[in-house]
C-alpha cells in the first residue's frame, strides 16, 4: 500500500480511474474468474487496481483469492451513510499480494442480511471515492439487470459482457440482454463481448451466435476448465502463476487490448511497452 491514509497526495497523483464492469445474463459463465484475472493483469502492468465484489449475496472473489477480509463493502457504506465527507477507501479494502503483484479487493458483505441493506446510492459514492485512488476499478456483478448493476454499468467506461455458447436459452438471454443495454442508451463500443470456454461441448457455431447478436466477439477465451479450477482452489489468479497456459495467455491478450498495451513478446521494440504505458496512465 503506497497511499496510506494521512499521506498528502500531490496534485498529479489524484487519479480519475476507469471503471470496468464484468457482466453477464447467465450465471456461472466465469465473471469472477475474469474479474480477478483482469485485475491481477492490470496490477502486473503497474497500475493501481481495485476489484469490487458486487455479487453482494453470494460473492466469490474472496473465496477465489482465499483471503479473509476484516472490512467489507458493508462497513464502507455504513460510513458513507453516516457522514464522512472524506472517504478513506484504504480502511475498507483488503490487499492481495502474491509474488510482488499487489491489488486491492473491496469484499462482499460477510452476512446475508448485510447484503440486503446496501443502498445503490452508497455504492455509487464508494465507486467515485475509489476512482480518485485507482487507475482501474473492476466490478464483478450478478447476472441481472438490478438497480445496482445498472448504476454500476452507467458509471463504467467499458462493460465486459461475458457469455458462453452452451445452449439456446443462454444465447437468447445474451441477445435479450444486449438489446436491453442498447435500448437504455449504452454505446456499442462500451459493450465488449467476451466468449468464454470456446471449445466446450456444443453444437452451436460461433458465427451463428455472432449473427444473432449482430456483433462480433471482442475476445475469445479458450476452454481450460482444469487450469481455471486449479487456480481458484489455490487462490492465485492464473495470469500470475500460470501465465504461459493458453488461458493465461489469452487473458493477458485481453488486457493488452483493453490498455492498448504491447507486451515484450509482441514486439522486439521492448521500450515501447513502457512508453505506451506511460501514455495511457
Amino acid at each position: 500500500m503506497q497511499n496510506k491514509s494521512g499521506e498528502i497526495k500531490m496534485a498529479e497523483e489524484i487519479k480519475n480511474g476507469m471503471i470496468m464492469t464484468v457482466f453477464s445474463t447467465a450465471s456461472a459463465v466465469g465473471k469472477t474468474l475474469l474479474s480477478i484475472n483482469m485485475t491481477a493483469e492490470l496490477a502486473k502492468s503497474g497500475y493501481r487496481v481495485c476489484v469490487v465484489d458486487l455479487d453482494l449475496q453470494f460473492g466469490d472473489i474472496c473465496n477465489y483469492l482465499k483471503i479473509s477480509p476484516q472490512k467489507t463493502i458493508y462497513d464502507f457504506q455504513k460510513n458513507v451513510e453516516n457522514e464522512q465527507s472524506t472517504l478513506d477507501c484504504q480502511d475498507y479494502i483488503t490487499q492481495y499480494e502474491y509474488q510482488g503483484i499487489s491489488f486491492s479487493v473491496l469484499a462482499a458483505p460477510r452476512k446475508m442480511e448485510e447484503a440486503y441493506n446496501i443502498s445503490t446510492q452508497a455504492v455509487i459514492a464508494i465507486l467515485s471515492g475509489l476512482r480518485s485512488e485507482y487507475d482501474y476499478i473492476v466490478l464483478d456483478t450478478t447476472a441481472a439487470f438490478s438497480e445496482l448493476n445498472l448504476a454500476a454499468m452507467d458509471l463504467s467506461t467499458i462493460i465486459t459482457f461475458v457469455g458462453i455458447v452452451d445452449f439456446i436459452p443462454t444465447i437468447k438471454n445474451m441477445k435479450v440482454g444486449y438489446d436491453t443495454m442498447r435500448s437504455i442508451g449504452y454505446e456499442k463500443n462500451k459493450i465488449r463481448f467476451i466468449l468464454n470456454r470456446n471449445n466446450s461441448k456444443t453444437n452451436i457455431e460461433l458465427q451463428d451466435v455472432e449473427q444473432l447478436l449482430e456483433e462480433h466477439f471482442y475476445h475469445v477465451l479458450p476452454n481450460d476448465f482444469f487450469t481455471a479450477m486449479d487456480s481458484l482452489h489455490k487462490g492465485i489468479p492464473l495470469v500470475i502463476d500460470r501465465d504461459t497456459t493458453a488461458l493465461g495467455q489469452s487473458l493477458q491478450d485481453l488486457i493488452d487490448k483493453y490498455t492498448n498495451r504491447m507486451r515484450a513478446s509482441d514486439t522486439p521494440n521492448a521500450p515501447l511497452s513502457s512508453w505506451m504505458k506511460k501514455l495511457f496512465k
Binding site: 445474463t25 447467465a26 450465471s27 456461472a28 459463465v29 449475496q57 453470494f58 466469490d60 473465496n63 446475508m112 440486503y116 450478478t142 447476472a143 441481472a144 439487470f145 438490478s146 452452451d166 445452449f167 439456446i168 436459452p169 437468447k172 438471454n173 435479450v176 440482454g177 438489446d179 436491453t180 435500448s183 461441448k201 456444443t202 453444437n203 452451436i204 479450477m229 481458484l232 482452489h233
Partner: protein, 373 residues
C-alpha cells in the same frame, strides 16, 4: 362430451335469469332446475337428478350451505358462485366439499372451462406450491422443474402448473418452445379482475394437465410485476392446480422471497462443480432459519452430481450439515439438445438416469400428499 344437468341456485332474480340463459346456451349443458332459495333447491332439486350444482355462496353462511348440499347430493359436483374472488372463502367451501369457485356473471366459455378444470383436479385447495431457488443460478433448475412437472402430472393424474418467475431471464418458454399469448406480466397486472377460471387461460398448455405461465418477454417488463400481485396470483392458482412449481431468479429479491413465503416447500437447487456451491447453499439455508419449521419446509437438491450415488450424497450431506433431499446426475448433452429443440416435454426419455432420478423425487412428493395434512 359429457352432458351436464345443471341445478342453479341464485337469489337475485336478474342474475338468475342471466345465468340461466348462459347455462342453456353452453353446449353440453342443460338447465334442469333453478331456484332463488337454497332450501327449496335442497328439498325439490333431487327429483331432477342434477349432476352439477351451481350454488350461490354470497350468503351469510356459505360453508354451511355447501355442507347441506354435499349431504343432499353426495355424488354431484358443486361449483360455487360469487360476485367477487375471496381466497379464504374459496378455500373454505372447497374444504367443505365444493369443486371450486366461479365468479358471476360468467360466460359460456368460462362455464365449460370451469367444469373441465375442476372436473380434472377436483379438490382445488389441496394444492402444494413449491419454489425452486438457486443461490447463484445455472443449477439445472429449469430442467428439473420442467421434468418434475411432467412426472408429477403423470404420477398423480392431476393438474400441474409451472410459474416462470425468473422475470428477467426466464427460459421456460424456450424449453417448451412456446410463444405465449400471455405471461406473468399480464396475469399479475389483471389479477384483481380475475377468478381462477379466467386466470387459467393465462397459462399456456403443454399437455392435457400441465400448464406454464411464462416469464416476461423482455427484462424491462420485470418491473411491472409487483410482489403483492404475484402473491395473490399464487393463492388463486392454488384452486386450479394440484401442484404448482415456481422458478425464481437467483439471489434473494422481492420476487424470490415472496414465492418462498407463499410456498409449502422451498427447494434449494445447486449444481456441483468443484467451486463454493456448498458454502452458497449454507448461506441460503441460513436465511430460512428464521422460519420455525424450516427443516420441514426447506429441501436441498444437488444437480450434476458425479457419480450420482448414495456415497456422494452422504459426502455432500456431511459438508453441508443439512439433509439432502435429492441428487441428480449430469446429463448435459441430453438436456442441452432437448432444450435447444424446445422439446423438453418429449425428448428426455423416461429411462434416462436423469428422468429416473426426477421420477423418484416426484414419487416422494406425491407420497407425502397422501399423508394427512
Amino acid at each position: 362430451m359429457k352432458d351436464y344437468h345443471v341445478l342453479l341456485v341464485e337469489p337475485n332474480n336478474i342474475m338468475l335469469e342471466r345465468l340461466s340463459s348462459v347455462v342453456r346456451n353452453t353446449k353440453g349443458f342443460e338447465l334442469v332446475f333453478r331456484s332463488r332459495d337454497p332450501q327449496e333447491a335442497l328439498g325439490q332439486g333431487g327429483a331432477f337428478m342434477p349432476n352439477l350444482i351451481l350454488l350461490d355462496i354470497d350468503t351469510a353462511d356459505s360453508v354451511k350451505t355447501v355442507l347441506d348440499f354435499v349431504r343432499a347430493f353426495p355424488q354431484t359436483g358443486i361449483l360455487c358462485l360469487s360476485n367477487y374472488w375471496n381466497a379464504q372463502i374459496a378455500s373454505d367451501v372447497v374444504k367443505a366439499g365444493a369443486k371450486g369457485c366461479l365468479i358471476k356473471p360468467f360466460t359460456t366459455d368460462e362455464l365449460a372451462a370451469a367444469v373441465n378444470t375442476f372436473g380434472n383436479s377436483g379438490m382445488g385447495m389441496l394444492s402444494e406450491v413449491m419454489t425452486f431457488f438457486s443461490p447463484k443460478g445455472k443449477s439445472g433448475k429449469t430442467t428439473l422443474i420442467a421434468n418434475l412437472a411432467m412426472a408429477l402430472a403423470k404420477k398423480s393424474g392431476e393438474n400441474v402448473a409451472i410459474i416462470d418467475a425468473d422475470l428477467q431471464f426466464g427460459d421456460m418458454s424456450v424449453f417448451f418452445n412456446l410463444d405465449p399469448q400471455s405471461t406473468i406480466v399480464e396475469a399479475t397486472r389483471d389479477i384483481n379482475l380475475l377468478s381462477p377460471i379466467t386466470l387459467n387461460s393465462y397459462f399456456t398448455p403443454i399437455t392435457e394437465n400441465v400448464r406454464v405461465l411464462c416469464g416476461t418477454k423482455r427484462p424491462e417488463f420485470a418491473e411491472d410485476v409487483s410482489p403483492k400481485a404475484f402473491a395473490d396470483m399464487i393463492t388463486m392458482a392454488r384452486s386450479l392446480f394440484r401442484y404448482i412449481l415456481i422458478d425464481v431468479p437467483p439471489a434473494f429479491n422481492p420476487i424470490s422471497v415472496t414465492a418462498a413465503e407463499k410456498s409449502d416447500k422451498v427447494y434449494l437447487v445447486s449444481m456441483v462443480s468443484g467451486g463454493y456451491e456448498v458454502n452458497h447453499m449454507q448461506r441460503a439455508l441460513d436465511i430460512f432459519k428464521v422460519w420455525p419449521d424450516y427443516e420441514t419446509k426447506v429441501k436441498t437438491i444437488f444437480t450434476r452430481v458425479e457419480p450420482c450415488e448414495k456415497q456422494e450424497q452422504d459426502n455432500l450431506e456431511k459438508s453441508l450439515e443439512y439433509p439432502i433431499c435429492s441428487i441428480l446426475p449430469n446429463e448435459y448433452l441430453l438436456v442441452s439438445a432437448a432444450a435447444n429443440n424446445g422439446r423438453m416435454a418429449v425428448d428426455i426419455k423416461p429411462e434416462s438416469p436423469l428422468a429416473r432420478s426426477i421420477d423418484q423425487l416426484a414419487a416422494k412428493i406425491c407420497d407425502k400428499q397422501y399423508q394427512v395434512r
